[in-house]
């Protein structure tokens, strides 16, 4: 951890690395995140209609449920859990392979702070780019809910729009983005740690990758609870 914050050898190279990592982590995860969000929003809408059967509850409440569930939990937490699998395993296996093939040793021999050069850009890139990715998934998730409602005829577009605009609290978005920043740090740092300290060969690289995903997911779930308790209650 200390090595991360030593003075970089050449700041321009670090900036270039951050840009590369932002493309890799953000743009590279866009497809899967959007796909998950569309179906998540659609399923949420249909299940809400299925469960809310009381005539006392207005139909536009379905949109409120979909909106708040997507913004508060599904986009920041569920998508980040998926990213822990995709990005986390990728980082751990990349660094693990570099370790067992002595590429990290080669960096050290050159006099380069290997943890700073390899890990810090990933952490900064994830913290910068994941909030934007999650904002996109929020829109897409709610869009998926609207689409499912409209296509199946369970809730028309007018009612859905009315629900979306009812009692909207912008703090929910802020809360979600705070969670994403914390989760971005958890995914990249935990995965980097497991990858960076891999010892052995191909088998151990696979084990590091698995550990990275498991520990990132556990920490995300735990911190999700802690942050919700601290910020929402």
């Amino acid at each position: 951890m200390k090595g991360l914050f030593l003075k970089p050898e050449k700041i321009s190279v670090y900036f270039r690395q951050i840009k590369i990592e932002m493309v890799d982590i953000g743009y590279g995860s866009l497809g899967i995140s959007v796909l998950i969000s569309v179906f998540m929003g659609a399923v949420l809408t249909i299940q809400s209609v299925h469960n809310i059967v009381s005539p006392l509850v207005p139909i536009y409440a379905i949109a409120i449920v979909t909106r708040d569930a997507v913004i508060l939990e599904f986009s920041p937490t569920v998508v980040c859990l998926v990213l822990a699998g995709k990005v986390g395993s990728s980082i751990a296996s990349q660094l693990g392979t570099m370790r067992v093939t002595e590429q990290i040793d080669a960096l050290e021999i050159m006099g380069i702070n290997s943890s700073g050069y390899l890990v810090l850009p990933k952490i900064i890139a994830a913290i910068l780019i994941l909030p934007f990715l999650i904002l996109i998934t929020m829109f897409v998730g709610i869009g998926g809910g609207w689409l499912a409602g409209a296509v199946t005829g369970l809730i028309n577009s007018h009612e859905f729009k009315r629900g979306l605009l009812t009692d909207f609290d912008t703090f929910n978005v802020q809360f979600a983005l705070i969670k994403v920043v914390v989760f971005a740090f958890v995914i990249t740092s935990v995965s980097s740690y497991h990858g960076f300290y891999t010892e052995g060969g191909a088998l151990e690289v696979g084990q590091s990758s698995t550990k990275a995903v498991v520990w990132s997911s556990v920490l995300i779930l735990f911190l999700d609870y802690v942050l919700t308790q601290l910020l929402l209650i």
């Binding site: 090595g3 030593l6 050898e9 050449k10 190279v13 392979t97 570099m98 093939t101 002595e102 590429q103 040793d105 080669a106 050290e108 021999i109 050159m110 006099g111 380069i112 702070n113």
Partner: protein
């Protein structure tokens, strides 16, 4: 008198004239209570091909990694030209590390970078050269290892011998004072092994480098071993040159060197 003044001026202008040496003083290293290196003391000097030999598990790689600081020694010191490397912090070591080139067993080329970027990497990080100057240096290094026109290839597109040559080119890119090679011809066919050996020998003499090679290749030992250190069970068992290996009265050493029929015939 004139010669004396020239010599003193030469020392001031070109520090390479001063005899470079690496002194390893009583180093020990253990992993999980298993002593891999036990009170090893050796001095390596410039101008000779220094070989560290020994069987698998004898501590060769740990020894070389302790010398370059990839492993911290438990006891003892590694001294580069009167600079105590073992007692330095990361920042102080950085200066010495920029004087070190290392060829790893598997090449350790960066997979995500092509050949040109691999060789250019340290130049980009530590020099203020322009892009053209860096490119010239890359092409010079590649030409020196007899690998022209491979700039845009990635490590996955190279053969084993080519990877080793690119690794050598990367190691000499920063004009190192010390070159470490960890089993540079392992996994190569005999002909390519000789090519790599000759290349390291030529580069050592041409650029006046202090070279240390970890090997258990007997051809390298017989052909190039000007200063040989034999490690056995983490200790220095024998030191000498390739001319001395036939007259050694040491069972472990003879069992290791003359294990093959060819070497036995050579001894006779």
């Amino acid at each position: 008198m004139v010669q004396c003044v020239d010599f003193i001026l030469g020392l001031c202008i070109n520090p390479a004239i001063i005899d470079m040496k690496i002194e390893v003083k009583n180093i020990s290293k253990s992993f999980a209570h298993k002593k891999v290196l036990d009170d090893v003391s050796v001095t390596f000097e410039k101008g000779k091909i220094n070989l560290v030999i020994g069987g698998s598990g004898s501590g060769k790689t740990v020894f070389i990694k302790c010398m370059v600081g990839l492993y911290e020694v438990d006891e003892g010191q590694v001294v580069y030209d009167d600079r105590n490397f073992s007692d330095m912090n990361f920042k102080e070591r950085k200066h010495i590390r920029q004087e070190i080139g290392m060829v790893f067993q598997g090449g350790a080329l960066f997979d995500s970078l092509n050949v040109q970027q691999n060789i250019m990497f340290s130049l980009t990080m530590f020099s203020n050269m322009t892009k053209e100057e860096k490119l010239d240096r890359v092409n010079f290094c590649l030409k020196r290892v007899n690998l022209p026109n491979v700039n845009k290839l990635f490590p996955s597109e190279l053969s084993g011998g080519m990877k080793k040559r690119v690794a050598i080119a990367r190691a000499i890119a920063m004009n190192p004072k010390y070159l470490f090679c960890d089993e540079p011809n392992s996994g190569l066919d005999p002909k390519t092994s000789i090519v790599i050996d000759n290349l390291i020998d030529e580069i050592t003499k041409e650029f006046d480098i202090l070279t240390i090679i970890n090997t258990h290749d007997m051809n390298t030992v017989v052909e190039m071993g000007e200063n040989i250190v034999y490690l056995h069970q983490g200790k220095v068992w024998w030191e000498g040159s390739n001319h001395d290996i036939y007259d050694v009265d040491n069972k472990e050493f003879n069992d290791f060197i003359f294990a093959s029929r060819i070497m036995k015939k050579l001894k006779k």
